[in-house]
């Protein structure tokens, strides 16, 4: 039983890591209807910039601040150069543009900082919590708990931003209806720049967390692929969906790997999440928390 709980908890905490990446997708999709495939490379870019700065002897806070500024500038640039000319194009065109953006970002970040992998330390050891493993014989990593805490804090901050501030109200209005938002005088382009900047911030957090876990390397860009099933499970428009979806995907993936994997030869992590998400989709085509899609002729 304690083994089951350990696997479940490990999966839930891994799911939180997926949610961190998925949050960035949701933010941009909510506000601009763009499915931002480049979120994975944004994560990579942020993590690589941060780790390269710290390795050059910058202090933690300074490197974090500078990277944050870089992400904000990048977000504004993306809005200005890529998205603004593509307003009113069909979603597939926008998706393709962000895939193109992926190439640019990956090339640019490796051009700037080189392509060798880096290690990243935050001072929180990735070791099991002692009293848990002694008392209940359950091994849960300290760092995983910290990541979960960060994700929780991030969601609270985002919720406050969305619910309590003037910008948040404008964001929600834009998400509801671009034209109506424009009609009441909300500057669409500023709002989009802000959203991309916030998504850049989320990417930075996700990048640092994943960087500590797996090292900062090119493989970080594939975190986007891990986040996709989370997204379709939770619904593209829902922040709560990203969290709950992440938890479900993380837990089921780990449980399947442990209890189902041996029967089919293992390695099923690469696709199992997608199958779980597909099964959910067949029941609820708009995801768990997505907005109901109503077709009109």
């Amino acid at each position: 039983m304690s083994f089951f709980i350990e696997v479940l908890a490990g999966g839930l905490l891994a799911g939180v890591m997926y949610s961190l990446v998925a949050l960035g997708f949701v933010l941009i999709y909510k506000a601009s209807g763009v499915f931002n495939f480049a979120q994975g490379s944004l994560v990579f870019f942020a993590a690589l910039t941060f780790v390269s700065l710290t390795e050059r002897g910058w202090s933690f806070a300074l490197a974090l601040g500078v990277t944050l500024i870089a992400m904000v500038v990048l977000g504004v640039l993306i809005e200005r150069i890529v998205l603004r000319p593509l307003v009113n194009q069909p979603p597939i065109t926008l998706l393709m543009a962000t895939i193109g953006l992926t190439f640019v970002l990956e090339g640019a970040s490796q051009l700037m900082w080189g392509s060798q992998p880096h290690g990243l330390e935050l001072g929180i050891p990735d070791v099991p919590i002692e009293w848990l493993s002694q008392k209940w014989n359950i091994n849960i990593s300290q760092f995983d708990l910290f990541a979960a805490f960060v994700a929780g804090a991030l969601v609270v901050v985002l919720a406050l931003l969305f619910q309590k501030t003037r910008i948040g109200r404008a964001l929600r209005a834009v998400a509801d209806d671009h034209q109506a938002a424009l009609a009441v005088g909300i500057p669409l382009q500023h709002i989009w720049a802000i959203v991309w900047a916030v998504a850049g911030f989320v990417a930075l957090v996700a990048g640092v967390m994943w960087g500590v876990r797996n090292g900062v390397q090119y493989a970080l860009t594939f975190t986007a692929l891990k986040a996709l099933p989370v997204l379709i499970l939770g619904g593209f428009e829902s922040i709560a969906g990203a969290i709950v979806g992440g938890l479900i995907i993380g837990a089921s993936e780990k449980l399947a790997e442990v209890y189902l994997g041996p029967f089919v030869g293992g390695g099923i992590e690469s696709w199992f999440a997608y199958v779980v998400a597909l099964v959910f989709l067949l029941i609820r085509p708009e995801g768990l928390f997505g907005e109901k899609i109503i077709d009109r002729v």
């Binding site: 499915f35 150069i81 890529v82 000319p85 593509l86 194009q89 979603p91 597939i92 065109t93 998706l95 393709m96 543009a97 895939i99 193109g100 953006l101 992926t102 190439f103 640019v104 970002l105 990956e106 090339g107 640019a108 490796q110 051009l111 080189g114 392509s115 692929l225 996709l228 099933p229 997204l231 379709i232 593209f236 089919v264 030869g265 390695g267 099923i268 690469s270 696709w271 997608y274 199958v275 998400a277 597909l278 989709l281 067949l282 085509p285 708009e286 995801g287 899609i293 077709d295 009109r296 002729v297």
Partner: protein
């Protein structure tokens, strides 16, 4: 155009329905076919035939397959490479396990198996749409590669999952030179392109386009959703499967499952978008552009090296290449979202009035 359709009257329905209604167009396409079928294999050099033209044709076929599904029927798919993998590995198995099977028969079996896989992974399209479907097709991509890697049967229990394409022979002629492989690929691609062109002018093709434009309206006017969508998946995957088989047999020769990773799906998707979604010609233009592009970049960096008299580090070149590639895609999407096929069309219309546009 340097020529016009003036004086060419259509007096029968058959003439009205022709793919190339203008005499000069027919002559031009005839000349083009003559050049690519006869002149190129006779005089083309080995490198061009085996390393550029054959992969171009194979990828054009895959793009055509994706175009049928995404460009015509409107079902976004990111699993093209998986269907190609099914085609390649099943064609290999057909050659291996069925005695005396002709090569073409093996290709068809590969295509049919891909079609079956396509139908299975097309089932969710009945419930989910758009971007959700695109992500769902990623399941196909990962699952198929996993299965090919894990189940030894597919690669005849070779330790690394690598297969080596068997020797090909058609009616006693061995297909083993670059030129003969090129001609075989070209013949198959030309036939299938003609088939696709005609399919899209038929009732089925119109049903596909109706679903793409608005599926609710299409079902209201009596188009069967399930049948048509699954048919689109089946035909598209068949094309991709045959392309995969050609990729293995005529281009690479030795294939590992990793040849069919997600990157290939994206490349084919780029080809479709840059060429023009919903256009047969566009599939070829896009495939040509994306195949040639790295070669041009390579040449450019080489000549830059010569001009500067120093060696540019490899990482710099490959990263710059990625940046230019991505930037170019964004540029294309902004300037002409309908792709090269649309540019071609505009160019033709301009030339038709040239040099007196008013």
């Amino acid at each position: 155009m340097l020529y016009r359709e003036a004086g060419q009257f259509k007096s029968t329905y058959a003439q009205d329905q022709q793919i190339f209604p203008i005499l000069q167009d027919r002559i031009a396409i005839g000349a083009l076919l003559l050049v690519v079928f006869v002149v190129v294999p006779l005089f083309g050099n080995q490198y061009w035939l085996s390393a550029i033209l054959t992969p171009f044709l194979v990828l054009a076929l895959a793009t055509l397959g994706l175009n049928i599904l995404t460009g015509y029927a409107g079902q976004l798919s990111l699993g093209t490479a998986a269907f190609m993998a099914v085609g390649a590995f099943m064609a290999y198995n057909a050659m291996l396990r069925i005695p005396h099977i002709p090569v073409i028969g093996a290709f068809i079996i590969g295509g049919l198996c891909a079609a079956a896989v396509g139908i299975v992974f097309g089932l969710p399209s009945l419930r989910i749409k758009g971007l959700y479907l695109a992500v769902a097709t990623l399941a196909c991509q990962f699952f198929v590669l996993w299965a090919i890697n894990r189940v030894g049967w597919f690669s005849n229990y070779s330790s690394s999952g690598v297969i080596t394409a068997q020797r090909m022979e058609i009616l006693g002629y061995a297909i083993d030179t670059p030129a003969s492989k090129y001609v075989l690929t070209l013949a198959i691609v030309a036939l299938m392109a003609l088939g696709a062109k005609n399919l899209m002018r038929s009732e089925t093709g119109r049903a596909f386009m109706a679903i793409r434009d608005m599926d609710v309206a299409a079902s209201v006017i009596g188009i069967q959703m399930m049948k048509t969508k699954l048919l689109a998946f089946a035909i598209s995957s068949f094309y991709c499967g045959v392309a995969g088989a050609l990729y293995a047999f005529c281009y690479l020769g030795t294939v590992e499952p990793e040849a069919f990773v997600l990157d290939l799906s994206f490349r084919v998707l780029f080809m479709m978008i840059i060429g023009g979604a919903g256009s047969i010609l566009g599939s070829f233009l896009g495939a040509g552009f994306i195949t040639m592009f790295p070669i041009f970049l390579n040449l450019a960096s080489k000549s830059l090296e010569n001009a500067l008299g120093m060696e540019i580090p490899h990482a710099l070149v490959s990263n710059t290449e990625a940046i230019i590639f991505g930037a170019l895609i964004i540029f294309f999407l902004i300037v002409e979202p309908n792709g090269l096929a649309r540019l071609w069309q505009i160019g033709k219309e301009k030339l038709r009035l040239w040099p007196f546009p008013h």
